[in-house]
Symmetry: C2
């Protein structure tokens, strides 16, 4: 077992192996809840630097609203984050995860369940950030406008119902790839199961638009675009096919734990590599 | 709080409010697992009659395989069912629920988590079985062949990732309807969030085919069709549009807890009602 720190809303720090969820918690029985995950860097002196916490709490709020859950009590969650980090002193990179579930099925007017955990960033993530990833495209089954005016499909909502995302990852692994790029029925790339896709073409950084596509509004991608624009590097939201990606100057999967990971191979085809480019993308995202 | 009975695989009966899941259980963090639910009828003498347990355990096995989980140990689960029912003596109808999760993220080679619960059948379900339901159609975002050759989309797998199903139910409730009928992008009806759809036309019972549509293989629908065929009542698997349903002789949502519930209103349009027909459907399904 790796070292972990765990804190429960309204309860504080608990033992990392503690059982914290009832058998009828809707987070378990229905995947009915939402989460956020971001990176925490802990110094040798035990100090913590959390990436983009306000943005993650804002997206947490958005997910909660979309699920008809009560308002996220931002002050209480900031306090819970301080509490769980008070129990974490492992130097290096870790993942801070925040989870809300609708609470217990047998207590419909009872409280939500709130949990914060800290775990060391996986070796595999650090390696993929450094060396890049091989990716296969997999159909997501939906068109690029499937989520327009269909709030019940929970487009852009970071729910706990990630079974398809993990199944796609397992499928990729079984086929010798590191990760997946989901595609629409009308032929565009969407996102990876736990990362956004960003590409460089025409001296401009691009990513898939959110909204009707149903993809998650990526905090790492937005931080990257903001830093790029601030450096005079233009950015753009656009739909692109897999074949278009093959002729760009670089493609990356970006997420808050692993950071940016260059796609070196897409569906078995090696992508062009401009030395130094990934360093720049990493610098833009603070990795 | 309603009375509940809870048992955990490898542990036995636990207190019904007991916390049984760690904060990094993949059932919580990813909705990564599967479940089954069926009806148990408890007699005044405390005896139990479980509906279609072998069929539910077979579908549990199918879901586990599709998720790359270990084989369901049928003997152990039969024993767990006996154990949890040993703690249940409330006369009347209840729901027996079985859940498997991939276990703890921090223990990749550790055991799965297995939980069995018994809860009284909701008043609302009994009422809807008796009085029928008003239903609205909602787009599922996928075509009728979206799940063909795409195992990572987990078509036909009863996963714990039900956030869209419950969100659709909430959307219906907010719009004054009792339930939802999902539709494909090419205009066919699929299933309800937790029930199959069955309709009577041309003196034949129909339902949506499984497989490429991605819908769940309904045990209640199959029991209904088997009983109907045995009574000389023909059945058929076919795609139908919502408009086709409006001119049938009857439409029902069938599931293992609520049983069959006639759709009396579809998208605000009253459906024809042949007295006695729902009684026959209930008899065919054993409700």
């Amino acid at each position: 077992m790796t070292k972990r720190a765990v804190a429960v809303l309204g309860r504080g720090v608990v033992e990392s192996d503690a059982e914290v969820l009832s058998s009828d918690d809707l987070g378990l029985t229905r995947g009915d809840g939402c989460f956020e995950a971001t990176r925490v860097v802990t110094g040798a002196d035990g100090s913590h630097r959390i990436d983009h916490l306000p943005e993650h709490l804002a997206r947490f709020q958005h997910s909660s609203h979309a699920l008809g859950l009560p308002d996220v009590d931002v002050t209480a969650w900031q306090e819970l984050v301080r509490t769980v980090l008070g129990a974490w002193d492992v130097p290096g990179e870790a993942t801070l995860k925040l989870m809300i579930t609708r609470g217990r099925e047998s207590a419909p007017s009872g409280p939500i369940t709130g949990i914060a955990t800290v775990t060391p960033l996986a070796e595999r993530s650090l390696r993929q950030r450094r060396d890049g990833v091989s990716v296969i495209t997999l159909a997501r089954g939906t068109s690029s406008d499937a989520y327009a005016a269909a709030p019940w499909l929970l487009g852009g909502v970071k729910t706990l119902s990630y079974a398809i995302n993990v199944a796609a990852g397992r499928f990729a692994e079984a086929h010798g790839a590191d990760d997946v790029l989901f595609t629409t029925t009308d032929g565009y790339v969407l996102e990876a199961p736990t990362a956004a896709v960003v590409w460089l073409s025409d001296a401009r950084l691009h990513t898939t638009p959110t909204g009707a596509t149903g993809i998650l509004d990526s905090i790492t991608q937005k931080a990257l675009f903001a830093a790029a624009e601030a450096s005079g590097f233009p950015t753009r939201y656009a739909l692109a096919s897999r074949d278009e990606l093959l002729t760009t100057d670089g493609v990356w999967l970006v997420s808050s734990g692993r950071g940016p990971a260059r796609i070196h191979t897409l569906d078995g085809i090696q992508l062009p590599h401009t030395p130094g480019l990934s360093d720049r993308i990493r610098a833009f995202t603070g990795f």
